[in-house]
């Protein structure tokens, strides 16, 4: 409200197209933000956040900051949110937030705190920006284009902040690598070349036959059958007692085999309803 009043008080007018974009995309961005908080599925939450970030990118572009808009989309939407999605996808797709509260009164407290925090920050920003003089885009840029103006500020006035931020990010990246790194004795791991050599020197360079999972049972303990009906010892699972499965009775005579036509099935309706009457 305050920001709107401030905008109305200044002689700056919203362009026609800009107003349309704002009133179309503003609700969409807000809906995305709400959906992010309220959605039960983590991936859906991330997608709602992506939606909001895209809207912000378009807002930047509309307000004559195309570089910022593009960077918002490339860095935040394209890189950071993709990494988030990565982690969320690995969590599993059926995990959604449980409705049961583990801490009593946690939800209410969270809502109250969130609303209070948002109010404080909003009020603070509104107070701080209330009577700021409007410089105008042309003056702010010093007659440069969009990108040269940003570059000039970034590499003169805000150079220290810029460098410190990059140092922080590098530190974080190196720290993550150190945490995830496992020290190995050099030479304790066989290389791909050594492994492949060793495998080709055995009698079986190819993989072992799988268990007979689909023959008569679906357990890994069921050994595979060789063409002559005996079990293949190479398909025994490690550490499991091979399981004997009762085999299909082998056909002994002509009548048990049946006619080849019967084995093919028929296109007629099921014989149970009597078949076509003549």
């Amino acid at each position: 409200m305050n920001a709107l009043a401030a905008a109305a008080a200044t002689p700056v007018h919203l362009g026609n197209g800009e107003a349309v974009v704002f009133w179309v995309l503003g609700p969409i961005a807000l809906a995305g933000a709400l959906g992010m908080v309220l959605s039960r599925n983590a991936v859906h939450s991330a997608l709602f956040l992506v939606n909001t970030m895209l809207c912000l990118g378009v807002f930047y572009v509309v307000q004559q900051a195309p570089f910022l808009g593009a960077v918002q989309i490339i860095v935040y939407t394209g890189a950071i949110m993709i990494l988030f999605l990565f982690v969320l996808m690995l969590v599993g797709r059926d995990t959604s937030d449980s409705v049961v509260e583990t801490l009593r009164g946690q939800r209410v407290a969270a809502i109250v705190l969130a609303v209070g925090f948002a109010g404080l920050v909003g009020a603070g920003i509104a107070r701080a920006t209330q009577n700021l003089p409007v410089t105008g885009l042309a003056n702010a840029r010093n007659g440069n284009g969009n990108i040269p103006a940003i570059a000039e500020l970034l590499f003169t006035r805000y150079l220290l902040a810029f460098e410190v931020t990059s140092a922080l990010l590098i530190t974080a990246a190196v720290g993550a690598m150190v945490l995830a790194h496992i020290e190995r004795e050099p030479g304790s791991r066989q290389t791909q070349k050594e492994l492949s050599r060793a495998r080709f020197l055995t009698a079986r360079p190819q993989t072992l036959p799988g268990p007979g999972v689909f023959a008569r049972g679906n357990s890994v303990a069921v050994p595979a059958l060789l063409p002559d009906g005996t079990v293949s010892e190479e398909s025994f699972a490690t550490g499991l007692e091979p399981q004997e499965v009762d085999q299909m009775p082998r056909p002994t005579g002509r009548e048990q085999l049946g006619s080849p036509d019967a084995a093919l099935g028929t296109l007629d309706p099921a014989p149970s309803d009597g078949g076509p009457t003549r």
Binding site: N41, V43, P66, I73, I74, G78, L85, N146, A198, T202
Partner: protein, 489 residues
């Protein structure tokens, strides 16, 4: 920034003033162009790969089989649309859309020609441009990753999920190398807008070389060769094409992220992949190959860079770039995933960073010392390039020494590996290989017959002397070769 006075060269100020129906024509034009280019690229790819593999390729639908992909597209549209039971329905539906839309959007900033007269209106042959033109393409490719990730996740099945993760990891990694490779172009062109970059490649750098005035090449592919090479490698990874097609390696995996998709949704993924190929080819032409400007021998003719001719040069460059894509696929074997990632992160990205540092330093030095671009290129670039190439050559020979020695020995007739026996051999026991197979001294590897000869190509007009007809394998191609062969027999 020097403004080139040629009236046909659009600048940033020329955009945004078009009449609405001109904009509409351009939008529809870009859309139709991309769809047609996709249809063309698929047939072109199949034909070229077929020729490289001594096959015929599609030859049934339309003249010489050139309507094959149109027929395939129609067939795909009429197939049954399957929604897997475990799919996350809204995301499953959205994913192909998210993949396809940015692919189309990215082409909007590609300049395909100079300012031309269209129904009485002077307008540049480019949908739009912005001070950040090239970043739009990068942003669109960043959004395209979402289509793949979400498709893999929403299918509700393991293989698409793994394929989607692999695709996304690959595209995100190679996007970095791609973005870094473009930075040097920005430094040289002094702008990120595509039309300005084309304008910056308009005129060659004059260089006075011991009294001679030589006009050097102006393409950034020549001025910034390292950038160009990194860009080419990175976009092959970025578009999931062979030899970097690990996520959808059709001979090894089911199909990657789009395993569960069918009908039009699958068609959208296919469309997006080929449009991305066309877009990165067009971007390569714009950034490194002079854009729509005519290449050197043609550019002597004054009319080559005005009117509608430049569209022809532009599309020739795009088709050449597409051909390189296909050529790579027909030639190179697929990389292993860890090798591929190591290459991206440990070779491409550091090289790009060092190269940016070098280029920026040289720009500053040349500005301080009032050297022209051509002088820098000849007096610094060429010697340094020669030194680096020599070092690389020596290093690669040293690294491949064992393999080279073995190859020499093998070609001299020996089959015994010169490498020492690895100390990881399992103990010899009853499971040793029975006699008849390759022995331990051969390293255990199956060895093909060593006396094979490559048969003469059936396309050779002249039959090699002394063949008795039967040794030539006919490809069935309607050509003179088969006829001659029949005459011989």
């Amino acid at each position: 920034m020097t403004l080139h006075a040629a009236a046909s060269q659009p600048t940033l100020q020329d955009f945004g003033h078009d009449v609405w129906w001109i904009v509409l024509i351009k939008i529809v034009g870009v859309f139709a162009l991309l769809v047609v280019m996709t249809l063309f690229a698929i047939v072109f790819e199949r034909k070229v790969v077929a020729r490289m593999q001594q096959r015929i390729g599609p030859n049934r639908v339309g003249p010489r089989g050139y309507l094959q992909s149109l027929a395939d597209g129609l067939k795909l549209a009429f197939k049954e649309d399957i929604m897997p039971a475990l799919a996350d329905k809204p995301v499953y539906f959205l994913a192909p859309v998210i993949a396809a839309i940015p692919a189309f959007l990215a082409f909007s900033v590609i300049p395909i020609g100079p300012t031309v007269s269209l129904f009485g209106q002077r307008t540049p042959l480019q949908l739009t441009d912005a001070p950040i033109g090239v970043l739009v393409v990068l942003a669109c490719s960043a959004m395209g990753v979402y289509g793949i990730v979400l498709a893999g996740w929403a299918s509700g099945s393991t293989y698409p999920l793994l394929g989607g993760l692999r695709s996304a990891a690959q595209m995100v990694s190679y996007e970095i190398a791609m973005g870094l490779s473009i930075v040097a172009v920005f430094l040289y062109a002094g702008s990120m807008s595509t039309s300005d970059i084309v304008a910056a490649q308009a005129h060659g750098n004059t260089l006075s070389f011991f009294g001679w005035d030589v006009t050097g090449p102006s393409w950034f592919a020549v001025l910034l060769p390292v950038s160009f090479v990194i860009y080419v490698v990175a976009v092959v990874g970025e578009t999931n094409r062979a030899p970097f097609d690990l996520p959808e390696a059709e001979s090894e995996l089911v199909g990657g992220f789009h395993t569960e998709y069918s009908s039009l949704k699958f068609a959208l993924f296919f469309l997006a992949e080929y449009i991305n190929m066309v877009t990165v080819s067009a971007l390569a032409a714009t950034l490194f190959l002079g854009g729509w400007r005519a290449p050197w021998p043609i550019s002597i003719w004054d009319g080559a860079n005005s009117g509608w001719w430049p569209m022809l040069w532009f599309f020739l460059k795009v088709v050449v770039a597409l051909f390189v894509f296909i050529w790579l696929r027909g030639t190179l074997p697929r990389l292993r995933y860890d090798q591929f990632m190591r290459f991206g992160w440990k070779v491409l990205v550091p090289t790009a960073l060092v190269w940016i540092l070098v280029v920026a330093t040289m720009r500053t030095v040349s500005r301080q010392a009032h050297l022209s671009t051509g002088q820098v290129a000849v007096f610094v670039g060429v010697p340094v390039a020669l030194v680096v190439l020599a070092v690389l050559l020596i290093a690669s020979r040293a690294a491949n020494r064992d393999t080279r020695l073995m190859a020499e020995e093998a070609s001299a007739g020996g089959v015994h590996a010169t490498d020492p026996e690895p100390d990881v051999l399992p103990p010899a026991g009853p499971r040793r290989r029975p006699t008849g197979g390759p022995t331990r001294s051969e390293g255990g590897f199956p060895i093909p017959p060593m006396d094979l000869k490559v048969p003469p190509s059936p396309r050779l007009r002249r039959q090699p002397v002394g063949t008795d007809g039967a040794s030539v394998v006919s490809t069935g191609r309607r050509g003179t070769a088969t006829v001659e062969e029949n005459d011989d027999v």
